[in-house]
Symmetry: C3
Amino acid sequence: MTPRILTKSDTIVLAGSGVAVVLAGITRYTSVPAVVAFLAAGVAVALLASVVGRSVEQLGDRFGPGATGVLQSALGNLPELFIGFFALKAGLVAVVQAAIIGSILSNILLVLGLSFVVGGLKHGVQRFDSDRARTSTVLMVLATGALVLPSLASYVHAPAAAHEGTLSLIVSVVLLGVFILSLPSALKRSPEPILDRSKIITTRPAGRPAPGATRPASKAARSSAKASVKASATGSDGGSAGPTDTTPAAAGAQSGVHAEAPRWPLWLALTLLAAASLAAALVSDWFVVALEPAIDALGISQAFAGLVIVAIAGNAIENVVGIQLAYRNQADFAMSVIIQSPLQVALVLAPALVLLSLFTATTLTLVFAPMLVVAVAVTVIAVAFVVFDGESTWLEGATLIALYAIIATAFWWGG
Amino acid sequence: MTPRILTKSDTIVLAGSGVAVVLAGITRYTSVPAVVAFLAAGVAVALLASVVGRSVEQLGDRFGPGATGVLQSALGNLPELFIGFFALKAGLVAVVQAAIIGSILSNILLVLGLSFVVGGLKHGVQRFDSDRARTSTVLMVLATGALVLPSLASYVHAPAAAHEGTLSLIVSVVLLGVFILSLPSALKRSPEPILDRSKIITTRPAGRPAPGATRPASKAARSSAKASVKASATGSDGGSAGPTDTTPAAAGAQSGVHAEAPRWPLWLALTLLAAASLAAALVSDWFVVALEPAIDALGISQAFAGLVIVAIAGNAIENVVGIQLAYRNQADFAMSVIIQSPLQVALVLAPALVLLSLFTATTLTLVFAPMLVVAVAVTVIAVAFVVFDGESTWLEGATLIALYAIIATAFWWGG
Amino acid sequence: MTPRILTKSDTIVLAGSGVAVVLAGITRYTSVPAVVAFLAAGVAVALLASVVGRSVEQLGDRFGPGATGVLQSALGNLPELFIGFFALKAGLVAVVQAAIIGSILSNILLVLGLSFVVGGLKHGVQRFDSDRARTSTVLMVLATGALVLPSLASYVHAPAAAHEGTLSLIVSVVLLGVFILSLPSALKRSPEPILDRSKIITTRPAGRPAPGATRPASKAARSSAKASVKASATGSDGGSAGPTDTTPAAAGAQSGVHAEAPRWPLWLALTLLAAASLAAALVSDWFVVALEPAIDALGISQAFAGLVIVAIAGNAIENVVGIQLAYRNQADFAMSVIIQSPLQVALVLAPALVLLSLFTATTLTLVFAPMLVVAVAVTVIAVAFVVFDGESTWLEGATLIALYAIIATAFWWGG
């Protein structure tokens, strides 16, 4: 591979963002139909989110995978955070709450389903016995459980329901605390085993004559990777988790797709990160401004707008990577990357928005509309079994997408 | 084994059905106590369901396991469908809804529990690491999740609750769509690996001197079966799933018990299928006619009648095969067969009844009585862990039966 | 190891109990602040619970591990049972119900979380692929499902809600029945494989030069233990489960920590058991007497007192053993021991208290306050995934503790 500074896909995304931001600006300050302005801002936000993601990656590669992971978790949700903050300022609490739940659902139903369908149609049954995916799932189940407790307390009229604001704050601080606890070991992580592991995986197709027999190969890769991990882990620090590291702060770093050397010079990565973040903040504002008129024009409910549209705009493009990995038969990595995202929503985005709402006129609590809790509970439990199954078929993927469609439909009708 | 046309068990079931249908007819048109007429019709329906199942099997064996699977899923629920349809015509919506949930519960609590008890008492701890069982379970969890969403939307008074009919129709169409999606790959399935697999399993006891060490043997069998599958799958089509096929349309075909050549001539299989189906339609009507007076005479609730009695009459005998498999220490197959049944209820029977109800005076929605949703939610989650555990003891079986007894008790009292 | 009659820890616990009982007696009958009396009684109860546990262990070692298991399950919950009974006599139904749920939560969130943190910080990622842990978890999920059904029936206003007392009695009898069913095979269990197993495990560190590679070693140990089990099980009785025995009546016996010969003479074990039980009964009464004034003085809710304080006092010290095992890198055993406890609460303690309440003025039903059911449902589902994951990190432990803290907070506010 020739080390170019900008790959073709980099160029497309950067140019696309530039154009989209300009278009969004024009639609913002001229009198176009609300839906057009909304679409333009949505596309711009989605593309800027992708630029932020790429900058973080290039920046992080310079400091090792630990730092990349931490940076990605800290900045990866930035566009969603901006949108959420401006929407709170605009008093759109229902949209923000739906978008939080929608971020979780769109990742573990739509994106995961698409990756199963794409991977399954191309490669048949895919296996992903990744310890990381399972542990991320366990953390996601625990974090989601904590996240919905204030809602449940409210529905059953527990005494704590009278203190839902305080309870939401406590839950948010505790969840952020868990996230912060995960940072040190994520930073400490030594990069070698990951490179090692990715090497094994990339050389696998060449080394194995029978491409159908994926399981034994991946097992061998895994145990060999594990062996080297154990060795290095024993050597360096007993408490750190090595490449089976499952800390939420270690998101995309281990995805194996970006194990190559950084392509962007430091100044470029920093400049693009700053520029894209600023632009994202600006465009997020436009997006929210256009949101309400667009909702009215389209005649959809606030819940649907948040659950489906805002959620997909906020983290859609970044998640294409999971589908790409499944297409390349790296089901383990695909699963890890996709499951990481809802975990960060529960541990970082939702708590951060609750705390940020202290600085807006609108107070965001973790007491969601009951149907949102229903949707996330059904989904998280079902998807946890999907992950624990350890293998996927395209039909499972189709069923995940079907469930997403049904849930989206259930939110179609307004109040 | 001498290839007879009718085995002893065939003869018993056929003769029994004939007698039962005649008895049911007599009790239908003479003035006997309602409970007697109801019992006669119930026994006749159960036996006819068994005849339908056997005809489909013999018919399917002729066209390969793919076709058998598809036929079985299409026709296996026929008697339940008839009962449901006539009950809807009679306005017994509560009975039909309870029977849908009851079909799921009786399979994954009562039948699964009995198979664990029977298998565990005879063979000690049984293992069933079947990929198929786990994937069927995942699909069951997803489908059940979709199935209960309209109910949950209704309970929490979501805006969608005002459109519960439309939402039920959409959910039904989507679930049937998932089922239809599963048909092509089920039909495409090549039969060799299954025969291969069943051969390995039947020769196991002879080939292994130590009968206690079942795990290594079954592992070897599985991996060997997998190897041959991989080979054939790679040769024919990359997208098809082979014998680890987990499509719901591939029900009993892989059960391994019927891997032998078809015993019935084609005309006999077709005639019996047609005759049994017609008779099932007729007797289902009688069954429903006798249902209401019997409920009154027995003083039980409609919910209990549907959940326990109708559900067991509709698919009881067919499920004996799962218990037989467990008794023969084929725990993997037993689990696959038993889990397949509730999956088909969620993907085919329930949606089909919702659509059929468009042609009756009574409208069936997927908004169930809350206690039905409670029962199915608790059960499906618990049983999913049972399947994922990968091993069973008779005590686990006893606990499943105990849970069934408790749920049945909770429905004993009328409204 | 020199076989002393009383180890240092025995001496501390015995002396501590004596002192604590005397102190509790003094605070009971003198006018000290309620909180002091309450604390003294609480400490005394916790220490006596530990003495009862140790006596049962020493007694049981004499009769084989089967008897130990049965004795432990029968007597292990004795202090909690006493407290529950006296609290019922005092009409503190809300406290008792919260304590039942709290016993489950404190074990599978707080104690399990602490064992993950302690084990993870010392040993990195720990694995526990124990079949026992998974099967105990499955039974726990099933038993908890049964336990909450009367509550759910009540919340949804099912017809059965009008019969909640009867339904609670039926559920209790059925759950106790499942427990009694588990006794014969627990008693029958032959002790050799366990000693064998524990031997393998204790010799492991010496036999393996590379201490980091725990997985292969523990796998070897397990399969070797299994092989000998299969052999002995085949020889003696086909239906018994051997050391992978998962009957709830086989609690601590297989913990491997106490596989050594009994240290206490029979008379001492019997005397201490009788004395500690009597004292526990006495002090439980004092504890309950001091409970209400202490609740008032502290201004906490009855639910919080039951859920957190009574639950921890009732079974805290005994559970330290699970944390110790995790510290010694025996994650498999730690998990088994910790998961056993909530299973016994659901199968024995709760049903026994419901039946005992027939002899008090207060009737205890299984209709819990909704928030208790919410808490136990979220927790049991999440923890089941934690156990099925098969590996633990300290971060997972921290998240479990965080969830416990959030739940405890949600019960902080009074009615």
